[in-house]
Amino acid sequence: MELTQFTIKQAHQGLVKKDFSALEFTEAFLDKLKQEDKKIHAFLTVTEDLAISQAKRIDNLIAQKKDIPILAGIPCVVKDNILIEGIKCTSASKILENYIASYDATCIKKLKEQGVVFLGKTNLDEFAMGSSCENSAFGPTRNPYDLTRVPGGSSGGSAAAVAANFSVFGLGSDTGGSIRQPCSFCGVVGLKPTYGAVSRYGLIAFASSLDQIGPITKTVEDARIVFDAIKGQDEMDSTSVEMPKIENYKLKIENLRIGVPKEYFTKGMDSEVEKAVKRAIEIYKKMGTKILEISLPHAEYALPCYYIIAPSEASANLARYDGIKYGKTTNDRQQVTGDLIDYYLKVRGEGFGPEVKRRIMLGTYALSAGYYEAYYKKAQKVRTLIQRDFKKAFNKVDIILAPTSPSLPFKLGEKIDDPLSMYLTDIYTVSINLAGIPAISIPCAESNNLPIGIQLIANAFEEDKIFEAALAFEKS
């Protein structure tokens, strides 16, 4: 087994037993990504110096016979919308091309305290808006399984890097499926935690009532280790909450009740995906799990609801990019004639890509006088109904099983000119963000060498239930 294939526990044991040093381990990844990332383009910035100094520090601790945390010396990649102090953070946008983060995001601070090694910043759809990584201002990422196909998005860079063994794990952010969908497309594990479980401090905001940071890993166990390291209340994020503590949570898989929403099996799902989901259901049945059909009556309204709420919040959040406070602006700043508003129009018109502009426009429209009630307020009410659907369902079942994406990884260029067809790839993921509940995507099957993921969804703060159910599936 190659070093770069190691899970967190395997790597930790190797470091403690001195089978290899943290520096050797880190260099194995740096060598690999330097050679192979040319064709995948998962990275926007490689932080080699930072990684080497962090690895050396861990080697010193090991040499001094100090106990090291489980994540010490473990390489990680970070989506380029999460701040690491002193490192460029672009959100894959021209408007932040030269932005150097002035502080660490809380999740980064926590991982630094554990001794995690940061290899670099990964590609995404600009400002996390997209489902294919093609909306990056710095060029698309490719799927390691098939270079003609997309890795999914928006956390496509982190998912591709983990799948290609450029890193042990990665961090992503998920506003409407941006961790789970690329993980499904790249055959890795990704968790969207309960809203508030992980601090959003230092995450470049897209839609603040929906955004969550989460782990992207090779195994369910690794996802649990990383989630435990980054979760927790933070005074810098007033929406963060402490998870209720459950000591030694153990679940008897035969006592588990899994619900399958009938509304998800109507139209638009690829037959290969449907086959994979049905196979997963059979596997759980064999383990003795009870499978129940459930109903989420408002499922079909989740996507239009999301595409009002998310752009509305985005249009407000992205108002801060004015070309004055940070980032690059226009090359001919001096040549802008006219007053301040002309300057804004030019800087923002040039600095944002087409999808970001589309969403800012959509949000501005939905929030503008005369339309607010009909669009935004209506969507917020529908959001209540979607939440109620889940609440009702969780009275009957512990976990909901669903596809992550309706399709297999699609070809680069296939959907980029049709925004609506791109939005439809989020059909099974957005409702989870609207309801604020946690969901994991785990690899389930392959079709023609392309991975297919399934989602396991639970009630708020029941990540443990998700992990136990996912572990049982992984072992089967």
Binding site: T239, I308, R333, A379, L385
Partner: protein, 96 residues
Amino acid sequence: MVSKETVIHIAKLARLKFSENETEKFQGEFSSILDYVENLKVVDVSGVEPTSHSMALENIEREDYLISYSKDKLSKKLLDLAPETKNGYLKVKSVF
């Protein structure tokens, strides 16, 4: 179909400039997305309260204290990020 005037008006509110071509392309895309989100019209929401946040939130408070920043490296670090500064201030175009 959303009118061209509406697109131009919204773009101005959003502080975005589009070229003539972009405006036309946008008009079409915008209309099809709006048609799609119009699907919400049929949902009966009478008596339903809006949800702005998925979790019931409590305010979190902390002590409000002043950090002296005039000599701090932080203010330099922040100013260094701005494209144009003068005497420790951000420089902007005239408002009118």
